[in-house]
């Protein structure tokens, strides 16, 4: 670049003085160049503007530096330190408050957890104990039930045995009673026959004629079967009061023969037969 401005190394640093020092060569083609006076005054005005702007720029830069320095200073100044300490205190208060709340929640929860764990363990132990107890009760009950069953079966068996022996005893007693009946009948027959003989004898002593007749009449019944004797004794004998009196006497004789009232025949006892 050639011309009056080519010597400006740095256009950003151009000053008013730089502009004023410029000289322009006059044009060789007279009458066709700029008015020299007008150019001079433009350059002068421009130089003044540049100077003002430079001034302004310098002031701004100084102010910026000043402010920068102040910011720097402020960061360490009491005011900033104070503000930071206020904020710090506020934050610490907030932290403590929240920490207390969280700590409280933590304590409540861990206590709840402990209680829960205790309850859980106790419940488990109780459950185990209950289970053990239940098992023991069950086992006890089933062993008892088994024992009762065994006992019952034994009893039933025994009962069957007993009923068999009872039957045997019954049979034996029946047989005994039959024997007793037969024996009693025989005895009774003998007794009644004896009684009739006696009646006939006494009667004959009082009325020998009638007695001979009566003896003839009773000779046949002596040969009759014992079963018919009671009928003869009550119905065929002449005076009804006689036999009834004698019958009472017969009972007394029986009592004499056996004071206990027990009939001595047959000899065997029922209890012996049961065994």
């Amino acid at each position: 670049m050639t011309g009056p401005t080519s010597r400006f190394q740095n256009l950003d640093a151009v000053t008013g003085t730089d502009l004023r020092s410029i000289t322009f060569a006059t044009s060789r083609a007279r009458g066709r160049g700029y008015d020299e006076q007008q150019v001079g005054s433009f350059v002068a005005n421009t130089a003044a503007v540049v100077d003002r702007l430079r001034d302004h720029l310098a002031r701004q830069a100084a102010e910026i530096n000043q402010l920068r320095a102040r910011i720097d200073r402020d960061s360490n100044s009491n005011e900033v330190a104070h503000a930071i300490s206020v904020l710090t205190t506020a934050q610490q208060t907030a932290d403590r408050t929240v920490a207390e709340a969280d700590g409280y929640s933590s304590r409540v929860m861990s206590e709840a957890r402990d209680l829960y764990e205790d309850a859980r363990r106790n419940a488990a132990v109780l459950e185990q104990e209950a289970e053990d107890k239940a098992r023991a009760v069950y086992e006890d009950a089933s062993s008892r039930a088994a024992a009762i069953e065994r006992e019952t079966i034994a009893k039933i068996e025994q009962l069957e045995l007993t009923s068999m022996s009872a039957q045997k005893e019954l049979d034996a007693q029946t047989a005994y009673l039959r024997t007793l009946r037969d024996a009693t009948r025989t005895q009774m027959e003998a007794f009644l026959e004896g009684l009739l003989d006696r009646v006939a004898e006494e009667y004959g002593r009082a009325h020998p004629m009638a007695a001979a007749e009566a003896n003839n009449r009773t000779a046949q019944p002596r040969n009759r079967r014992a079963g018919r004797l009671p009928a003869r004794a009550t119905g065929a004998v002449g005076k009804p009061s006689g036999p009834s009196l004698r019958l009472a006497g017969m009972q007394e004789r029986r009592r004499l023969a056996s004071p206990n009232g027990a009939i001595p025949l047959p000899q065997a006892q029922p209890s012996d037969q049961a065994q």
Binding site: N76, I84, T88, Q91, T97, V98, G103, M109, R113
Partner: protein
């Protein structure tokens, strides 16, 4: 990091942190909120955990400041995750200024222009990586996913199974975790939870176990109700199926560590099934909180075997003991891809038992459930 004097940065950070990490973080946030009050609303009322997190992140960054290869993936995750807080590129210079001011404050007379410049340059790189990662996903996914609780099923007094529905599908992979903010009950508090179902729809099943005093878990287990709003962050975690592997699977879960493994089983089922053993461990019978689903899955999938063991309950008639030990004894599992998930103690003992039973450590993927 180029010509940054990383040793000087480490030394300066250690000197500043010697004042007490919490005090340093306190000054940092106070300055940030004083100078840029609009950033305050991105944080919860109580800042204790937040300060711990900041210090943790700074320590991590400063430790690896001369190992960029290690640092960049971490920073990218961090940048991506910070979108859910409402952090935008414009906030990064403010944080940088607060960080430098804090370091200068705690450095006292040892602060130099060189330290200032090196920290500024280092922070520029950190913020750059975070912002770049955030910008990259800005095009493909929202900063967070709005969701609503549609069902709360309290299975025990401290475990709840939540059904939530997102407004648009969430891009997690089965086994990955997502951070959850109970916007209605505990705004600005986040904690990681793992979906218990494979992705594909709008519904997500979450298993929440109450951690005593944990703000998020308390809100989700004790006070959450249908209709509550949630915000979900982007997915994290590498405990996912290896797409190349066709080996049989062994899964060992303790308590709510079941959730990611249930999601993986769901995924395996969608992929056509694969021989899988799931060992689930609980302390007591009641803590077998998802029994119905476990039984239903074992019934439905012929390739799945579910084994449950209880460590501390005399009423339990099944297998007794720590689940890792029970699983290891049933081995060998040397031909299996192994997943372990549960409490830190459960994961540690399970991995130990499996490794000593002959499972190569490299075949085991595991995830621990922290606190909140």
């Amino acid at each position: 990091m180029g010509d940054i004097d990383t040793a000087a940065l480490k030394g300066n950070f250690a000197a500043a942190a010697a004042n007490g990490g919490d005090d340093v973080a306190m000054y940092f946030y106070s300055y940030l909120f004083l100078k840029y009050p609009e950033t305050r609303e991105m944080f919860p009322p109580a800042m204790t955990r937040q300060r711990d997190r900041l210090v943790g992140a700074l320590v991590r960054i400063v430790t690896d400041v001369d190992n960029v290869a290690n640092l960049v993936p971490y920073l990218e995750d961090l940048g991506r995750d910070h979108r859910k807080f409402g952090a935008v590129a414009a906030h990064y210079p403010a944080v940088g200024e607060a960080l430098l001011t804090t370091l200068r404050h705690f450095s006292g007379d040892s602060w130099t222009q060189q330290l200032h410049d090196d920290w500024a340059a280092a922070y520029g790189i950190v913020a750059g990586a975070m912002v770049a990662a955030a910008n990259k996903v800005d095009e493909s996914e929202p900063p967070w996913w709005d969701a609503e609780i549609i069902d709360v099923d309290r299975r025990t007094f401290d475990i709840a199974v939540l059904k939530v529905r997102t407004n648009i599908p969430h891009p997690f992979v089965a086994g990955q975790s997502i951070s959850v903010e109970p916007t209605t009950k505990r705004p600005r508090e986040w904690r990681f939870y793992t979906p218990a179902n494979a992705p594909g729809g709008l519904e997500i099943e979450l298993h929440a176990r109450l951690v005593d005093g944990g703000p998020v878990s308390t809100a989700l287990v004790r006070s959450a109700a249908a209709g509550d709003k949630l915000r979900l962050g982007p997915p994290f975690g590498r405990m996912t199926l290896d797409p190349q592997s066709r080996r049989p699977l062994l899964m060992v879960a303790g308590s709510t560590g079941l959730a990611p493994l249930k999601a993986i089983i769901d995924q395996v089922a969608r992929d056509g099934g694969r021989r899988t053993h799931l060992y689930f461990g609980a302390r007591s019978v009641r803590e077998i909180y998802d029994r119905k689903d476990l039984e239903a899955m074992a019934e439905r999938y012929s390739w799945l075997t579910v084994v449950t063991a209880v460590s501390d309950d005399i009423r339990w008639k099944g297998l007794r003991g720590l689940i890792g030990t029970v699983a290891a004894q049933a081995g060998p599992w040397t031909e299996h891809d192994v997943f372990v998930c549960g409490s830190p103690a459960m994961v540690e003992s399970s991995v130990k038992a499996l490794v000593s039973s002959g499972v190569p450590e490299s075949d085991i993927k595991f995830e621990e459930f922290g606190e909140a």
